[in-house]
Amino acid sequence: MNQFAISATNLVKEFKANKHVVTAINGLSLQVAPGETYGLIGPDGAGKTTTTRVILGLLSRTSGESSVLGFDSMNDMYEIRKRVGYIAQQFSLPPPLTVMENMLFFAGIHSVSSEQQKKRIPELLAFAGLSEFMNRLAGKLSGGMKKKLALACSLIHEPQVVMLDEPTLGVDPVSRREFWNLLGNLRAERGLTIFVCTHYMDEAERCTRVGLMYEGKLIVDDSPANIKRIIPGHVLEFMPSDFAAARKLCNEMDGVLEVQTYGDKLHVFVGDVAKRKPQIEAALASQGITHDNLREIEVRMEEAFISLIRRQKESVEQDGMLTQKSEMSGEI
């Protein structure tokens, strides 16, 4: 039991709203070992925030077990709070306080010694890019700056475990990398255990393990490398001159397993690159669609996520309608 930093077994959480019951967590089990970085991903409303809050003891569970560092979520929530840094998806900072006062406030409630404060606060302010704005009221910071202040505050007491619910929501691309580098350093230096809910698939890629949540259940729980291996086929990437036409064309082609969009690029999944690549190029040319270099790329978590969720939805719908599953045109 104690060997896990975070543990949940057959966890269930129901909300009673009006007359009906919403099952936000539906029999979820997961274990996170000390020093691991665990990423929880899933569609909007899958139950990620609820799972985080139940494990932390901020919401009561309906049934099942959950604990952090061996402390039971429901019975020992104060022990958990002492040892865990938490950032809520919709967090709030005391608005009448300045940036510095916020840091001191969080240091105070976690009884961080003044020696430690002198060392940690400047470091964290520098990380958050807030050193110049120490005396600004937190309420007057930009959205991303507030988020970075909240991140800095959650790390001030050097927690053993952090549970972060969309920590980089609204944070710019450069700061997002700096935040992950900081987490990486804390993991290397102090064996910090990290549990993070995120919609950024590049962040999920940096986790040691990823759980994919769907309608209250964990449908995949594995390393990013293994998750990407589940996805059949290879991905061809290109930027067509006529996006909609190219998408339609590829969708209807033989041997195309799936078509996804990524910004202004198309990602076309095929089984056999050598065979399909020239066919796609020829088909595009015949329609007068030009494109940049059509190349094979490695599958990333972004593609894996979309593919897995699509297939999950399809299988749920098909189960519901009791229709026969259509043969996938596989040619791996």
């Binding site: 909300f15 709203a17 009006n18 919403v22 899933g42 569609p43 909007d44 409303g45 899958a46 925030t49 998806q89 919709q90 890019g129 007057k140 910071l141 930009s142 959205g143 991303g144 700056m145 988020k147 970075k148 969309e166 929501l169 609204g170 944070v171 710019d172 691309p173 450069v174 700061s175 997002r176 990398r177 992950w180 990486g184 919609h199 698939m201 590049d202 962040e203 999920a204 890629e205 940096r206 990013p224 490398a225 969009t261 990524y262 910004g263 202004d264 690029k265 940049d292 270099n293 190349r295 490695e298 990333r300 978590m301 972004e302 996520f305 979309i306 969720i309 699509r310």
Partner: protein
């Protein structure tokens, strides 16, 4: 309205910003910014945290007054004709502004009512928006108990309930999943096709690639204003090598060390999930050197390829260029 007046009205620049400046005490949040957005254009308003994006939008909406300069929406002065501006725009703010104690449907009805929709129009719009936001079956859920991503979808719906001609979206896709993110953008494009002008901020650079034109603001100053393809030509210092390796975190440390010691003239090394983008003056020239550097340290290089820069490469490059300059 006379026919002539109508014609001039429809040719008015939907968004026009002239030498716009906003100070808070001694601090300048927006510093002499000028740009315009044409009808039916999707304009990306990008920049690092605290750059001044939201402050610019707030001035365009007349929610705060400029210290100097001016902002016009559909030809109306945002500072002095605020009511007229509000009648023409849709606004999805970065901060959540729906009522948590109303249901999803009641929020749409409320925002529709504010904009003076008739009850017939409302009935139609409510079902359209519930559909669009993927909230079918959740019409009567209290907004406060919707998940973060669903709230965001509902907020977008409420912002466009009255079919505005100019729409300001401040980080509309923050906190929504990768699939809904794509749906948001299909919707944005649909609106633009129908002639709606869209100014949108985002920290997702793959989304920003979809904008027809991009303004890049840093520390209050407009530092670039162009099409995405043009920005990639003008703002990128060097060429990008995309590297796939066995241990990306370790490989980044090795490359950063080489950068520090000037072993290889690396302008930037950044991790994209499990991939590395290395920016060098000449991709072909340094390809081998980088590969050697990594294999020396027992990193397996699965592939290394010269690619066109992504907008994210450009963003990082120009933010770092500014940090270096200071």
């Amino acid at each position: 309205m006379s026919a002539e007046l109508f014609v001039t009205q429809s040719q008015v620049t939907p968004i026009l910003v002239q030498n716009l400046t906003r100070r808070f005490g001694a601090f300048t949040a927006v510093d002499d910014v000028s740009f315009s957005v044409q009808a039916g254009e999707v304009f990306g308003w990008l920049g690092p945290n605290g750059a001044g994006k939201t402050t610019t939008i707030r001035m365009l909406l007349g929610l705060i007054k400029p210290s100097s300069g001016s902002a016009f929406v559909s030809g109306f002065n945002s500072a002095t004709q605020t009511k007229l501006v509000h009648a023409h725009v849709g606004y999805m703010s970065q901060q959540f502004t729906l009522y948590n104690d109303l249901t999803a449907m009641q929020n749409i009805r409320f925002y529709g009512g504010v904009h003076g929709l008739s009850s017939d129009e409302l009935r139609q719009r409510i079902s359209e928006i519930i559909q669009m936001a993927g909230l079918v079956g959740r019409e009567n859920t209290l907004t406060g108990s919707l998940s973060g991503g669903w709230k965001q979808r509902l907020a977008l719906g409420c912002a466009i309930v009255h079919h505005p001609k100019v729409v300001f979206l401040d980080e509309p896709t923050a906190g929504v999943d990768p699939i809904s993110r794509r749906q948001f953008w299909e919707l944005i494009y649909q609106m633009a096709k129908d002639g709606v002008t869209v100014l949108v901020t985002t920290h997702y650079m793959d989304e920003a690639e979809l904008c027809q034109r991009v303004g890049f603001i840093s520390a209050g100053r407009l530092v670039a204003l162009d099409s995405v393809s043009q920005l990639k030509l003008t703002q990128m210092r060097g060429q990008v090598l995309e590297i796939n390796v066995s241990d990306p975190e370790k490989a980044v440390r090795i490359l950063k060390a080489a950068q520090q010691s000037h072993q290889v003239p690396l302008d930037e090394v950044a991790l994209y999930g499990a991939q590395i983008h290395a920016v060098v003056p000449d991709a072909q020239e340094y390809n081998d050197a980088i590969q050697r550097l990594l294999t020396q340290d027992n990193i397996r290089v699965n592939s290394i390829e010269w690619i066109a820069p992504t907008l994210e490469d450009v963003f990082i490059s120009s933010v770092k260029a500014r940090v270096d300059a200071n």
